[in-house]
């Protein structure tokens, strides 16, 4: 398994964010953590990166338990994209993307080559690279954030509502492009969203969560046809598009 969690749990004070949970994420597959706000999907993602310390349980990356002392080294092998992009405002797009590679002492020519590849992949024109985040559109920022996450060719890519802050048109275009990128990379991808359609679009497998618990795990069809609990059906029905729109 590329990434696995065993008995992982977390509470913030009185509030249970994640009940003891065990999951694994197979290499080359895209898993979507789906659920309403506060269901624990983002907490699970942060626990896997070690950004939040668990109350119990372990995270395994390529079979090795993740411990605090090695967390930085492991994070360099995991790409991470958040809703607002998380780009540093004092660095231009190019410097944001190259930050970690430069810190690790990669050669300038290597960085240039990789930058060009990724700009191509993320469809960012070269003339946007010297711009600061504040001078880019929301969609461009997410594309640059994706470039930054992929710079060191990580084995795992974690995305937390990467399209959540975008307008519908931009979001749609980026959905198309992202799926192509995932397919081309053949990496382990874990994407967090509350949007059923987005989940359906990206997921090889969906993990539906509610109030810190995994309710059901499986491909979309399985959730549709063999819901494990009334909540699954409820959640799906709540987000099902108007049939007239679906037909159009």
């Amino acid at each position: 398994m590329a990434l696995a969690v065993e008995g992982l749990s977390k509470s913030f004070g009185e509030r249970l964010a994640l009940a003891p949970t065990s999951l694994d994420f197979a290499p080359g597959r895209t898993t979507v953590l789906l659920g309403p706000s506060g269901c624990g999907k983002t907490t699970l993602l942060k626990l896997m990166l070690g950004l939040v310390a668990p109350d119990s349980g372990t995270v395994r990356f390529q079979g090795e338990p993740v411990i605090a002392a090695r967390a930085d080294a492991l994070r360099q092998r995991i790409g991470y994209v958040i809703q607002e992009g998380g780009l540093f405002p004092h660095l231009c797009a190019r410097d944001n993307v190259a930050l970690m590679a430069r810190y690790l002492g990669r050669e300038a020519s290597w960085i240039e080559r990789r930058m060009a590849e990724l700009a191509d992949l993320a469809q960012i024109p070269a003339d946007l690279l010297p711009r600061f985040p504040a001078q880019l559109s929301g969609g461009q920022r997410q594309r640059v954030a994706l470039m930054r996450a992929l710079m060191l060719d990580p084995e795992v890519l974690l995305l937390d509502e990467p399209l959540g802050a975008l307008d519908p048109m931009t979001r749609h275009r980026l959905q198309l492009d992202l799926k192509a990128v995932f397919a081309g990379l053949a990496r382990t991808v874990v994407l967090v969203t509350h949007d059923l359609h987005e989940a359906a679009w990206f997921a090889d497998e969906i993990v539906l969560m509610r109030e810190g618990h995994v309710v059901q795990r499986g491909p979309l069809d399985e959730l549709l046809q063999r819901p494990s609990a009334p909540f699954v059906t409820e959640f799906i029905r709540a987000q099902r598009a108007d049939p007239r729109l679906a037909a159009a």
Partner: protein, 528 residues
């Protein structure tokens, strides 16, 4: 004290107007500059140590003390002592005494009554008693200069002649005389209450500000006022000092307070200084005070005139503001002022930024650190200096630099703290998620993002320091304050402005320099 309060207030208000735009050096640039300045500071300290080899004569910050200090200095030089320094206008008795005990100065002029009452807390003012009290401290008094600058009452010459007034006792026969006395004199036990009993005076005096009393007596609104025996204005206003025939007022004999080792260490100078015994009478001192205070002569010129055998009124008249502003000391004072500001600021950056980082990291550390640097800010500067002198065992640049450094900490610590605290949590998390270790996150992400706020804090401190550095003159560290202190002592507004104007100009320059630094040092993305 009031002069110092004014200085601190000036320093305190300036930054409020400039707080809006503030920024900082990149960490590497700042670190390099900090180390450079620390080395420079060490060099200055070494130079100071070397300078302290010679005889150092102190003086307080009022006209008479400046002049006497200058007379002593020039006399010691003429006596053949090679290195004599006049640490002039050092502030109040406490500071002089601390400097003397610490060995930063070797002697200074004072008054027997002051030494007895303020330093030894005794009523006795004769030399033997004073020397017995001072000996355990390794100090002594010697060389009474020949005048007694005590309290006295004065009347106008015309009135004195008409009524035949020469002694205090003569006042008793004229109950209708109108007395206008300063509030301090009215209330001191050794002032009016005792005087009235001693001479059986029947008058009911009114309280009057000392400065106004001269005008009031000239205009005939009062008949009698209290003065110091060597007041510069005695001649100007045609006053007659009434003799204290019963010896009521305590003795304030002018004399030297010195470290006991001075006669052996500086024998040539001591021999020359000893010849000043009884050389200055009250009339002569009054005339010299007037030459400096009313005719605008420099202290050095007045002293030189005295040592040349009189003629203190023959030198050039008062200079205009422009001449004082661009006086030959301008570059020396500018250099001293700049060094005081820049060195203390560099040290405050080197210490304050890490402190700010620490407060932001640890909530436990934040409260005491912010409270401590805030508390320092509330200390009156003269009190802080008086405290630092015995602690550091020296006067001059070092305690001034330490005081300025302490005052500069608060804005830097607070702005570093707030600049780092304002970084959005999702960006902190992004930096961690990339796998950057803590040190690299601080250097590459957090400090650059907080740079604008940190630079703003440094700018505030710099501008405050330009104002506060004027107090350095009180302890002999030079700078524009030297002119301000002299101007205050002489009541010379042109001299005061000649110090205040370049200080204000420097504050504006510093502010402009930081605006430029902002363009250079703050990442462009933060301005976009």
């Amino acid at each position: 004290m009031s002069a110092v309060t004014v200085q601190r207030r000036q320093g305190g208000t300036v930054p409020l107007t400039v707080r809006r735009t503030l920024r900082t050096a990149s960490p590497a640039v700042r670190r390099g500059r900090g180390w450079g300045c620390l080395l420079f500071l060490l060099a200055i300290l070494a130079a100071q140590g070397a300078l302290a080899e010679g005889l150092v004569i102190g003086s307080k910050r009022f006209t008479e003390s400046y002049i006497l200090g200058e007379i002593l200095t020039q006399t010691a030089r003429k006596g053949g002592e090679d290195a004599v320094t006049h640490a002039q206008g050092l502030g109040n008795t406490a500071i002089l005494f601390a400097a003397l005990k610490a060995g930063s100065i070797h002697l200074y002029p004072d008054y027997s009554g002051t030494v007895g009452r303020e330093l030894l807390k005794t009523e006795a003012t004769d030399l033997d008693s004073l020397n017995r009290g001072l000996a355990p401290l390794g100090l002594g008094v010697a060389v009474p200069l020949g005048f007694n600058n005590t309290y006295a009452l004065a009347v106008s010459d015309g009135l004195a002649q008409r009524l035949g007034l020469a002694r205090l006792g003569d006042l008793a026969a004229h109950p209708d005389l109108r007395l206008g006395l300063s509030h301090e004199f009215l209330n001191r036990s050794d002032g009016w209450p005792g005087l009235r009993r001693a001479y059986g005076l029947p008058q009911e005096p009114s309280g009057l500000d000392h400065g106004i009393a001269y005008e009031a007596i000239a205009a005939g609104q009062i008949d009698v006022m209290d003065i110091y025996a060597t007041d510069a204005k005695i001649h100007r206003y045609g006053l007659r000092v009434l003799a204290d025939d019963l010896g009521y007022f305590p003795e304030y004999q002018a004399l030297l307070v010195h470290r006991l080792d001075v006669p052996q260490r500086f024998p040539a100078a001591w021999a020359a200084l000893s010849r000043l015994e009884g050389a200055i009478d009250a009339g002569r001192m009054t005339a010299m005070n007037a030459a400096a205070e009313l005719d605008g002569q420099t202290f050095a010129a007045v002293a030189a005139g005295f040592l040349a055998g009189g003629g203190e009124r023959s030198a050039a008249g008062p200079q205009g503001l422009w001449a004082k502003l661009v006086g030959p000391d301008l570059w020396r004072l500018t250099w001293q002022h700049l060094m005081l500001v820049l060195l203390s600021l560099a040290a405050a950056v080197v210490v304050g930024v890490p402190l700010g980082i620490w407060t932001q990291r640890s909530m436990a550390a934040a409260r005491p650190i912010l409270a401590a640097v805030g508390l320092i800010q509330t200390l009156p500067s003269l009190a802080l200096l008086a405290f630092l002198i015995p602690l550091l065992g020296t006067i001059g640049a070092l305690p001034a630099l330490v005081a300025l450094f302490l005052y500069a900490l608060l804005p830097i610590v607070r702005n570093t703290f707030s600049g780092l605290s304002e970084i959005p949590p999702h960006l902190r998390e992004s930096a961690r998620a990339l796998g950057l270790p803590a040190g690299a996150r601080l250097r590459l992400i957090e400090l650059p993002m907080a740079s604008r706020s940190i630079l703003a804090g440094i700018q505030t401190s710099a501008v405050i320091n330009v104002g506060t550095a004027t107090i350095a003159a009180f302890i002999g560290a030079g700078g524009y304050g030297e002119r301000i202190v002299t101007g205050l002592a002489l009541n010379d507004h042109a001299m005061l402005l000649a110090g205040a104007i370049p200080a204000a100009g420097l504050a504006l320059l510093v502010q402009g320099a930081f605006e430029l630094a902002d363009r250079w040092l703050v990442p462009a993305g933060l301005r976009a």
